[in-house]
């Protein structure tokens, strides 16, 4: 069915004012998770779930937010989807709430399965829940929270993009995101330990070491497809002489896509396993690799769901950790990285932790030619991949890349050659943008820069 802007079918709402807005048709994307599962939905089931989630799982914020919004549209300019789609109002934050939640509320959940499919598409694939819009709403309405509530409803109805749901299934079955088996995990660590030792003789990846200072956790794509990052970390830890460990057992993966699919029960289990691994090993703190959503899950969304105000073990993001290593002199910089670099500031650690300044400081310490992107810090544009959007898989890649042309323009304006992306989602998302818009740039994790400029003392250097 073609999707037209004014179709009662999908937006269900009135568009007031003159003249009527003519909105272009958007391409139809087929996704089994939406199309097939929607066939099993009944109107009764939909109404039951919608009303249950709204009545039982939401409280003051939800009600006040909906009663406070004056439909002013001032949140729109925050959103890269809106800006990149020719200011199409269907992509503005409030526009997305209107097409989903307002209609669900107005019709008291009495909507057809097609409508729930649209809700899933909008909330799951066209919003990165990056929370920038709540910095533009004059009232500070947490629009991302409203759209996550829509995701929650869709999840409870089983309408989740197929790739996303597969990832959540992996979390549920294996406690990691990518179906990594126990032996594969340990093998990968041993392999990377060997690799690291071919550069730094003292490099080790100590497994299950009780009482270590640091538990280092990663997201499952690292052992699966980016194993060298773990080897890099083993070298960095050895040079910095950090007492660290990694768990051989479940809880090593700090990623959490269930947080983004609306499956909060699985999200809670995954986060609990992660923190319990740290508690079991009696470490002083968790240091996590360069990933933004993992930080959000471990520090905010997971603890929130588990009714912990703070995580039980302090969690330090890699950017914070590198900053500590560099400023304390544990890592010395032998030479500067010469190529011009810019940075993609991950929402979940810049807007989510205020690490923008530290990120600039470690770049300044390691790179000779930094080209800042504008807007910056908390106002930076999301990469378009975060919030689970990239995990919705190949069917949604075209709309994701098209939905972030402002990012391409922002990066191109810096004229940098390298985009530092201290987040896995940003890394993949920016890579897609670079190739989609032919920017001719490359992405690097900060650790990859650090590996090139870090001084390895002679006594540690392998022959």
């Amino acid at each position: 069915m073609p999707r037209t802007g004014n179709s009662e079918e999908w937006n269900g709402g009135e568009i007031m004012g003159l003249p009527a807005t003519i909105l272009p048709e958007l391409p139809v994307v087929s996704d089994i998770g939406l199309d097939e599962n929607a066939k099993r939905l009944t109107p009764e089931r939909i109404a039951e779930v919608v009303n249950r989630i709204i009545d039982k799982e939401t409280a003051a914020r939800f009600r006040v937010y909906l009663n406070t919004c004056v439909h002013c549209g001032l949140c729109s300019d925050a959103c890269h989807w809106f800006l990149s789609n020719n200011r199409d109002p269907r992509f503005s934050p409030v526009g997305k709430v209107k097409q989903t939640l307002w209609e669900l509320m107005k019709r008291k959940g009495k909507v057809p399965p097609e409508f729930i499919k649209e809700c899933s598409r909008i909330a799951q694939t066209e919003c990165n829940v990056c929370r920038k819009c709540s910095m533009y709403c004059p009232f500070g309405i947490d629009i991302a929270y409203l759209l996550i509530t829509v995701r929650r409803i869709c999840h409870q109805l089983g309408i989740v993009p197929q790739f996303m749901q597969d990832t959540v299934n992996s979390h549920a079955a294996t406690f990691n995101q990518m179906w990594v088996k126990q032996d594969e995990w340990i093998d990968t660590l041993q392999w990377q330990e060997e690799e690291a030792r071919s550069e730094v003789v003292t490099a080790r990846i100590p497994l299950d070491k009780e009482g270590a200072d640091v538990l280092y956790s990663v997201i499952a794509p690292e052992p699966k497809i980016l194993a060298q990052l773990i080897g890099n970390m083993a070298q960095i830890m050895a040079v910095a002489r950090i007492d660290w460990t990694m768990p051989s057992f479940d809880g090593w993966d700090n990623s959490n896509m269930a947080m983004f699919s609306g499956d909060f029960e699985i999200m809670g289990r995954v986060e609990r396993a992660h923190h319990e691994a740290a508690l079991k090993l009696k470490v002083k703190r968790i240091v996590m690799g360069e990933c933004g959503h993992a930080f959000r899950g471990a520090v905010y969304d997971g603890p929130k769901w588990l009714a912990w105000r703070e995580p039980p073990v302090p969690v330090v993001h890699a950017v914070d950790f590198y900053h500590e290593l560099i400023t304390s002199g544990r890592i010395k910089i032998a030479r500067k990285f010469e190529e011009p670099v810019t940075v993609q500031e991950p929402c979940n650690i810049v807007r989510g932790r205020g690490l923008g300044t530290k990120l600039r400081e470690i770049i300044a310490a390691t790179c000779a030619d930094f080209r800042p992107a504008e807007p910056a810090f908390e106002h930076n544009y999301c990469c378009g991949a975060g919030g689970g959007v990239i995990n919705c898989g190949p069917p949604w890649k075209t709309s994701r890349v098209k939905g972030n042309s402002v990012k391409a323009e922002q990066l191109a304006a810096t004229k940098a050659h390298i985009v530092i992306t201290p987040c896995h989602n940003c890394h993949s998302g920016i890579e897609d943008i670079i190739s989609g818009y032919k920017l001719g740039m490359h992405v690097k994790f900060f650790s990859e820069i650090l590996m090139q400029v870090m001084e390895i003392p002679d006594e540690l250097r392998a022959e």
């Binding site: 004012g17 004056v70 910095m135 905010y300 009714a307």
Partner: protein, 215 residues
Amino acid sequence: MYDFVSGPLVWIAFVLFIGGLSYQFVRMLRTAKKDKVVYPYMNLKHGLRSLLHWLVPFASRNMRMRYETTIITFAFHICLFLLPIFLTAHIVMFSFAWGPQWGTLSERTADWLTVLVILAALFFLARRWMLPEVRFVTYWSDYVLLAVAVAPFVTGFAAHHQWFNYETIVIIHMISGVVMLGAIPFTRLSHMLFFPFTRAYMGSEFGAVRNAKDW
């Protein structure tokens, strides 16, 4: 009719307004307990810091991105408070009934500020029509709310200048004031009550929990 409108109806309006706001306030506090994060995250310093950045014109990036909207929105809201409280005619009636009185705006100033409110309302209307992102999320109720907010000013202006039949206009003016006061707690005009809390909560979550700014 005049006696009813200027007597009991005023009481009804204030009961609705103050009672309604109190009801909404208590309800917010009670439901906030169910919302696990609100009380633990709320933080006075960061809440106020955020409020300040959104109460001072151009202190937030979004306000700097659209000068006209910022100036007009601030002017509109300030006049909305100033005019009814410091209008000579209102104070005369108030002190006639209860005694106390306070400083007033000159008639000329009040006139100009009223025109300002009406022009600002026209700007909001034009914005609703002209900007796709606003038009897309506009319902009939948005026009009604704008009319409810601005009607006391239009009718007050007409009454002051003795347009049409004075007594009829004054009665309409009083009724429109009652409608506005009564509507505030029970419609989206309740942002008058909720704004400081939603902003302070977001400021707290950004500032105290996430170590970031929200302006």
